[in-house]
């Protein structure tokens, strides 16, 4: 934040100085023009030779001084402004890192196929975020016509239509969709339909006493959810007491919050993606978020490693530091052997010893180097034969 503040300071200073400069220039020019006009007027009136010569000489010399000052001010002061402009540039360079801190090593996208893969991933992102026309344009420009066809786009078109309607607080398309996909939604234990009915119910209550009958009729929609959500239904029915006076000053005012509508959009997107067998969050989003999180630490390391000439971090097998991606972005188990401190792989799987402790297969082999066919667990006194260890799969 303070980096922005520093740059903004220089920008504001420059704006002020420019304003003052040009005001001054304007003033000087106006004065000079006025003076010259008055000289012209005076000289035009003069008929006598003598007066003319004197007048001309006097007034022109005065004017000359003034014009000289004007020119000097115009040129010199503008030159001075350059210092302020370069200060802005220096502030930017000081507070921001140029060239991504030399993070870029080789080109990530170096073949035509990789470019196509990336463009496909971008198209998926554009479809999910509702930019359908942009996706069409990209498909044309990047030559992806074969890969992204109408079938792939159709579910997104519908999804975006429903989302746009939800943004306008109209739940009916969403409800229709729920009813069509009723079975699948039940299979994933979704309570999306109930939440949509709840929002509509609250909308009707907000219409006041004249909607009383409609509200009661609508509450029949809750019957199917009686078993799962009975507590919430009780609350909703309780809020009817405030039909006359409005919900704003009631204990049920939380139902009026905008978060409910944002939550329903997210809930719908999650459910729709699950039904379409898509990942919950767009892969491009996940990568970019993680990347932005990882960049500061990695850029630091690159700067340090540059001094030691160890080669670039992206050319190695493993990153040199641990990046905490957060629990949400942990998609696979990673087992790190406590003895050899290496990640286990297919060829070096984790093995469970009889006592329950887990080490990697390589570590197991190393413990058995005396060839005795009897190994002792590194963590407890339990002994066993190497063959008794069982391969595990996380």
């Amino acid at each position: 934040m303070d980096s922005l503040v520093a740059v903004e300071k220089e920008i504001d200073k420059a704006l002020d100085l420019f304003e003052n400069f040009y005001d001054g220039v304007d003033q000087n020019l106006n004065k000079a023009i006025d003076h010259l006009v008055s000289i012209i007027n005076d000289l035009t009136k003069i008929e006598s030779e003598q007066t003319f010569k004197l007048s001309a000489d006097d007034s022109i010399s005065m004017c000359k001084e003034q014009v000289r000052e004007l020119i000097k001010h115009y040129s010199d002061k503008h030159k001075d402004l350059h210092a302020n402009i370069s200060k802005i540039g220096k502030a930017i360079d000081k507070n921001f890192v140029a060239d991504y801190g030399n993070m870029s090593h080789v080109n990530l996208i170096d073949t035509v196929e990789k470019k196509m893969h990336l463009n496909e991933a971008i198209c998926e992102h554009l479809l999910r975020s509702g930019h359908l026309e942009v996706c069409d344009t990209l498909v044309e420009e990047a030559g992806l016509v074969k890969k992204i066809d109408e079938d792939k786009k159709r579910p997104f078109v519908q999804m975006n239509y429903i989302l746009n309607k939800l943004k306008e607080k109209d739940v009916s398309p969403a409800l229709d969709w729920c009813q069509i996909n009723c079975q699948e939604l039940k299979a994933i234990n979704s309570n999306l339909e109930f939440k949509l009915h709840r929002l509509r119910f609250i909308q009707l209550i907000q219409q006041g006493p004249k909607a009383q009958l409609e509200v009661l009729k609508y509450s029949r929609n809750f019957t199917q959810f009686a078993n799962d959500c009975h507590k919430e239904i009780q609350r909703l029915m309780g809020s009817l007491i405030y039909l006359n006076s409005g919900l704003e000053n009631s204990p049920y005012s939380c139902y009026l919050g905008a978060e409910l509508w944002e939550e329903i959009e997210e809930e719908f997107t999650k459910n729709a993606c699950k039904l379409m067998d898509l990942p919950v969050e767009c892969p491009l989003d996940v990568c970019i978020n993680t990347g932005c999180r990882a960049l500061p630490a990695l850029v630091n390391i690159v700067q340090v490693m540059q001094q030691t000439q160890c080669g670039h971090i992206l050319s190695k097998d493993e990153l040199p530091i641990e990046i905490d991606v957060g629990q949400n972005y942990r998609f696979h188990s990673v087992f790190s052997c406590p003895i050899l401190r290496q990640q286990t792989t297919d060829s070096n799987p984790p093995m469970r010893l009889i006592c329950g402790h887990v080490i990697s297969k390589d570590a197991l082999t190393k413990l058995n180097n005396s060839g005795k066919n009897r190994i002792k667990c590194p963590y407890c006194p339990m002994e066993q034969a190497p063959g008794e260890a069982k391969q595990m799969l996380f």
Binding site: I33, L36, T44, F52, A56, I88, T137, N289, L298, V334
Partner: protein
Amino acid sequence: MDDMKIIEHSTLKVPYEHLNKLYRNVHKTIDRDCSSINQSMNQIDKLAKSADLGQKSELLASLSSLVEKLHQVKKRSIEMRNQEKDLIEILKKRVNNLKDHSSSDLTTRKLFFKNRLDRILIDYFLRNSYYLSAESLAEKAHLKQMTNIDVFLIEKEICESLESRETQRCLNWCIENKSKLKKINSNLEFTLRQQEFIELVREQKCLEAVHHARKYFVNLNPDQLVDVQKSMVLLAYVKCSDSLCNQELLSDSRWTYLIGLFKQENYKINQIPEQSALETILQSGLSALKTPTCYQKVTAVFNHNCPVCNPNFNQIAKPLPFAYCSNSKLIDAYTGEAINEHNQPMMLPNGHVYGYNSLVKLMSENDGKIRCPRSKETFEYGEVQKVFIL
């Protein structure tokens, strides 16, 4: 250091360079105007010194023309004032926009990140010549002011002219940016002149080619001299045939090289980084998410949500390093929950491991028996063995 400092340098530097360029042009105009006013004033002064009534009308005429000149200077200065002010305002707007990165309001922050991704995509589109997509996205997301589309549109024009084998536009651009190109020791202008020479020889206009060489191949450094010598060899051939040593000089790839060189110099001059932000961020992100499991065919646990398992990113991330993990971090393959001291790992007889919570869930779904979600075998609870992860 936070990610904004690393990613947004060019967002601010590019309009700054525009401002610098404008400033220089404005100053040139000011100098011109000042010297012209000075000239007029001196003329009037001379007239006034030797004036008599007969030259009155001449003097008055010169005075009027000076007044006219000052009016024009005033008009120009108002124009330049607005131009300079506009560019500074653009800088200010961008700084304000970037402030949302650290906003205390979650919605504002979310919107900022969404816009940032859109900006990164627009930059990627522009670099790869998907101009229509870039403009479309910039419009839909209301981001036109935050992107550097104008720089790329100029680039587009020149690239198109180079593609149609025309060098004039690019040469004009070189002349316009002469001082900056000199600062970075650019070879672009020389390479363009060399290509013109080759084209003249190709059309068998050898005399013209020699004139061209005399005019432009001056003040060469040693490397350029070698290049010129190689090109001169072409003159020795009566007709440019497919003989081996001519191939390289006559091939179309030289034009592709020229386009690439131009783009490179254009980025340097405008303070635009050479690699796109998208690739840089993706490199870091994919690497931080990449685990050996994503690439194993045998025991692959294909997690739907993992971007690296996504077929597109799987290919892209192949050459990248794996994420480094000092301590084991386990997640349950059935529910995705974390496996830790609150959700202890349990191993089934077939070697598959699940968290205790998953086993409870599996038992409730299958009459007290555990059905392994991956191998479909059924086990009793008594067969499960505890596992200790340190």
